[in-house]
């Protein structure tokens, strides 16, 4: 019995000691805004290590006759490897345009009826899209200019060279045995703190209006679900977003309880554009409320511009809020967010991709798996839905207009 008790105590000690150390070293100084300057040295060290890794990879690649796609001269250019187009697209926007301009048809007679070969144009256009399209590019995880000793790049570099393998293994151990537990504990503490405090804050009298610039709208690009954390670290915002289920939904509900007027929309509610607009407008016009934070990068905004289609005035951001774009591009902002009125504060965020890949490829990973990835990266720094059928209908309509003219 005594032995059992002792084991229990040892275990508790083993787990609680690091826990309190972390709370003491990480969380409390962070709350008080104290910095030890460790971060700066850590970053410098990491960059040096990456540079070393890059050189090694290059040598190894040369030895094996592989093509290294790094830019030799500039380790700084950590952007995309090749952005040039793979093919020259020359399909018109609409199938019907082919016949309007008379291009491509061998017959002189202008288009008047359905011909078997009309599918050829669509075939070509479809295959062109398979080879190259702008939207998917933005949603693909960015390929790095230098290897950051994580395994998440599509090239598997760590098998190239014995020293690299050792370096990678050390990094792996460090990230999983030290960084992950530290971040996990921080995360748990933060969630617990948020749940507890959010339940109480709601009952307290609101006295913070003077701190937040009420009535404004903050517009930002959206790379990851943790964007909000960075933005809100220097001001309080009311979040606008889609109602989620599962873990994210739970957090959302907790936040609402704090009474800061976050707005969450249902999928079904979003269809009712007018209602959404009114709700946002009401919020924006009330100077007593926190400024809103909107991510207006709709995934489909690209198509809107592509088709030169005037979006209806009610066409609103909220439809595609929470779409995460990879770290290289900013998608066209939906204009809906600018129609609500109020002061607009634009925000642009860029993550340094050398330290981690912040892009949440939501078609591949769940949110929790994403968190694990982030927490095991060096520096803890998408909703996928099908395209609206209305865009396809547009194409069909254009084509059928010509048939009708028959």
């Amino acid at each position: 019995m005594v032995a059992f008790e002792q084991i229990f105590l040892t275990l508790v000690g083993l787990y609680l000691t690091p826990f309190f150390i972390i709370v003491g070293i990480v969380i409390i100084p962070a709350c008080l805004g104290i910095s030890f300057g460790v971060r700066k040295y850590y970053l410098r060290f990491l960059l040096k290590m990456f540079e070393f890794g890059r050189q090694k990879v290059e040598i190894a690649c040369k030895d094996q006759g592989l093509q290294s796609n790094f830019t030799t001269s500039q380790p700084e250019s950590s952007t995309r490897v090749s952005q040039a187009a793979l093919i020259q697209k020359d399909s018109p926007k609409h199938l019907a345009d082919v016949f309007k301009t008379g291009e491509g048809t061998t017959e002189e007679e202008s288009f008047s009826e359905f011909e078997l070969h009309h599918v050829c144009y669509l075939c070509k256009k479809g295959v062109e899209a398979i080879i190259d399209d702008d939207v998917t590019k933005c949603f693909a995880a960015e390929e790095l200019g230098s290897w950051n000793l994580l395994t998440r790049t599509s090239m598997r570099y760590q098998y190239l060279n014995a020293r690299l393998t050792v370096l990678w293994s050390l990094g792996f151990l460090f990230r999983y045995l030290i960084l992950l537990p530290v971040r996990f504990v921080t995360f748990i503490v933060a969630i617990a703190y948020m749940i507890v405090s959010a339940s109480f804050v709601g009952y307290l009298p609101q006295s913070r209006e003077n701190r937040a610039k009420g009535g404004g709208i903050c517009v930002a690009n959206h790379t990851t679900p943790i964007d909000v954390i960075f933005i809100s670290s220097d001001n309080c915002y009311a979040f606008i977003g889609q109602k989620h289920t599962g873990f994210v939904g739970f957090i959302e509900r907790c936040m609402s309880r704090s009474g800061a007027d976050h707005i969450w929309f249902d999928r079904s509610e979003m269809r009712d554009r007018q209602k959404v607009t009114n709700r946002l407008k009401a919020h924006a016009e009330d100077p007593n409320k926190y400024p809103m934070l909107i991510f207006p990068e709709g995934k489909l905004s690209f198509f809107k511009s592509g088709f030169k289609e005037k979006s209806p005035t009610e066409e609103l951001v909220s439809n595609h809020i929470c779409t995460c774009i990879n770290n290289t591009s900013v998608m066209m902002f939906k204009k809906g967010s600018f129609e609500i009125g109020g002061v607009i504060y634009p925000v642009a965020m860029k993550y340094d991709p050398r330290f981690c890949d912040p892009f949440w490829n939501s078609s591949r990973d769940s949110f929790v798996r994403y968190l694990v990835k982030i927490m095991t990266s060096w520096d803890g720094q998408l909703k996928r839905m099908t395209v609206k059928s209305s865009y396809r209908e547009k194409e069909q309509e254009e084509y059928s207009k010509l048939l009708k003219a028959d």
């Binding site: 093919i87 295959v127 899209a129 078609s363 395209v387």
Partner: protein
Amino acid sequence: MGSKTSLLLQEEEIIQISRETGFTPNQISRLYSRFISLDKSDTGRLSPSDLMRIPELAINPLGSRIVEAFFVNCGDDSETINFRQFVKTLAVFRPQRRKEEPKEINSRDAKLRFAFTIYDLEKTGTVSSDEVLVILRMMVGSNITEDQLQAIAKRTMNEADQNGTGRITFDDFSKALERVDAEKIMSIRFLD
């Protein structure tokens, strides 16, 4: 994590694919990165749903048919395709150059075969009036009445079906497209 060394493209493979398809090695490795970015499951194979996730393809009225024709063209009954099959099908759309030796893979016949597969829903090798109607309906949506569509389909059948069998064979099809510059329409300019 990190156990998929096989995902790397081997030099010999590139050369072999290049010989088969006429793509340059550089084009092949770039197509490979495209393949990887489309391969959301990380298995080294693409499924039809991987392709349908491309928004530009999803809004194509014939998107689902194109994807199916793409997979039929690969000549494999399996649900997914590997990189080699992927490139081979894309090679159908390479333009023909006069300097080059004519290749089977991007001949006029191969291009027309691809277009024919779009119509051949049942994979019977021939196209019936109903199949033409289905494709027609996909192309125009609900903008034209069913009666009109049927009339168009019927007329198309009559024009194309030379032997009066009630079905369009591939020969009928290529004859109907005799005056069409299919080589030009179904060629994509690949950059190097």
